[in-house]
């Protein structure tokens, strides 16, 4: 039907990529070559077919193509019907059903398993959270108690400090005037106080030495 033709690359004909020693296959006459002498004045003979024969042939072919078209449509529809209801389709349907049921069963079992695991996990978690909450509540109570105690102590301290009230004011003023506090003193690294002009602690006699303590 279709002879083994040589390659046709970029409209270059009659060459073959594969080297072979047998005769080169002829595809067509090269396009630029001139017409052969034997063919120069040749007129191709045209077959004469009478008109009635032509009409008959046309009628036959028209009928034939019409029938073929309808046949193809019919076959197509038949194939569709068979695809729905044929044996293969039924078997496929049945297998698919079985597969579906099996998978659903598997899924159900899997779900149960995971549900169980999940429940256990949740129980443990619930326990933990409950304990956490209890612990935190207890801590909170403890803290508030401590806080209240601290506040009490602070208030006590504050109350204990000698505030000067309205009644004590005159007395306080007289006391302050009578006992002036002098801050003009120096201090060394050991805490010894130098009020006068002495710079060495040895020079000051034992009785008069002052020392600030850092408690």
């Amino acid at each position: 039907m279709f002879a083994r033709s040589s390659s046709r690359i970029f409209n270059v004909i009659n060459i073959s990529c594969i080297q072979s020693r047998s005769a080169r296959a002829w595809v067509r006459k090269p396009l630029g070559s001139p017409m052969a002498k034997s063919k120069m004045f040749r007129i191709a003979p045209k077959k004469f077919i009478p008109a009635d024969e032509k009409a008959e042939v046309k009628r036959l072919y028209d009928n034939y193509f019409h029938q073929m078209k309808s046949l193809r449509h019919y076959f197509f529809e038949q194939s569709l019907e068979q695809a729905e209801s044929g044996e293969v389709a039924q078997m496929k349907h049945r297998l698919e059903e079985e597969e579906h049921i099996r998978l659903m069963e598997e899924n159900r079992l899997e779900n149960e398993k995971t549900a169980k695991l999940r429940e256990e996990k949740l129980k443990i978690q619930a326990e933990k959270t409950r304990e956490n909450i209890l612990a935190s509540l207890i801590n909170k109570e403890e803290e508030t108690r401590q806080y209240e105690i601290q506040i009490e102590a602070f208030l006590e301290k504050q109350k204990a400090t000698p505030f000067i009230q309205a009644e004590n004011i005159e007395k306080a003023i007289e006391e302050a005037l009578a006992n002036p506090v002098d801050f003009n003193f120096a201090i060394d690294l050991d805490g010894y106080v130098y009020r006068g002009r002495e710079t060495a602690i040895e020079k000051i006699p034992e009785e008069e030495r002052e020392r600030l303590r850092s408690n």
Binding site: M1, V57, L60, Y64, M68, L71, R72, H73, S79
Partner: protein
């Protein structure tokens, strides 16, 4: 109403004759192939055979798997003329016009010499060895 009926797009496959056999002894396979493939190229399915040489009973044997042919036609495969003629003669498809045209031409003109002669002396000779 062309719109009501769906049109078939070509699927690139044909049912045609592939010549096998050897010199002076052709034997055709009726075959479903892609249009582009060669006669010796890959074949999708073999769907019958046609022996062009008449046998000892002066018969040319043709075998066709009609179910598969119907399937491929439903898919939209094309048919070549010889195969269409064979199927028409078998009754599966309507008679091809070529059969009728050839038959009235044979009646009109005397037959010409052919290489493939039916075997003489075994069965009664045909009137028109052109067939």
């Amino acid at each position: 109403m062309a719109s009501a009926i769906p049109t078939f797009t070509k699927i690139g496959k044909v049912i045609r004759l592939n010549k096998h056999g050897c010199t002076n002894r052709p034997f055709y396979h009726i075959v479903v192939q892609k249009t582009r493939d060669n006669f010796d190229g890959p074949v999708i399915e073999q769907v019958g055979s046609y022996d062009a040489m008449p046998n000892s009973q002066n018969e040319k044997l043709v075998a066709v798997n009609f179910e598969r042919v119907q399937y491929w036609l439903a898919q939209g495969a094309g048919i070549s003329n010889p195969v269409a003629q064979l199927l028409g003669l078998s009754g599966f498809l309507p008679n091809h016009p070529q059969t009728l045209i050839q038959s009235w031409k044979n009646r009109r003109e005397p037959p010409r010499e052919r290489k493939l002669q039916p075997i003489k002396g075994i069965a009664p000779p045909l009137d028109n060895p052109k067939i």
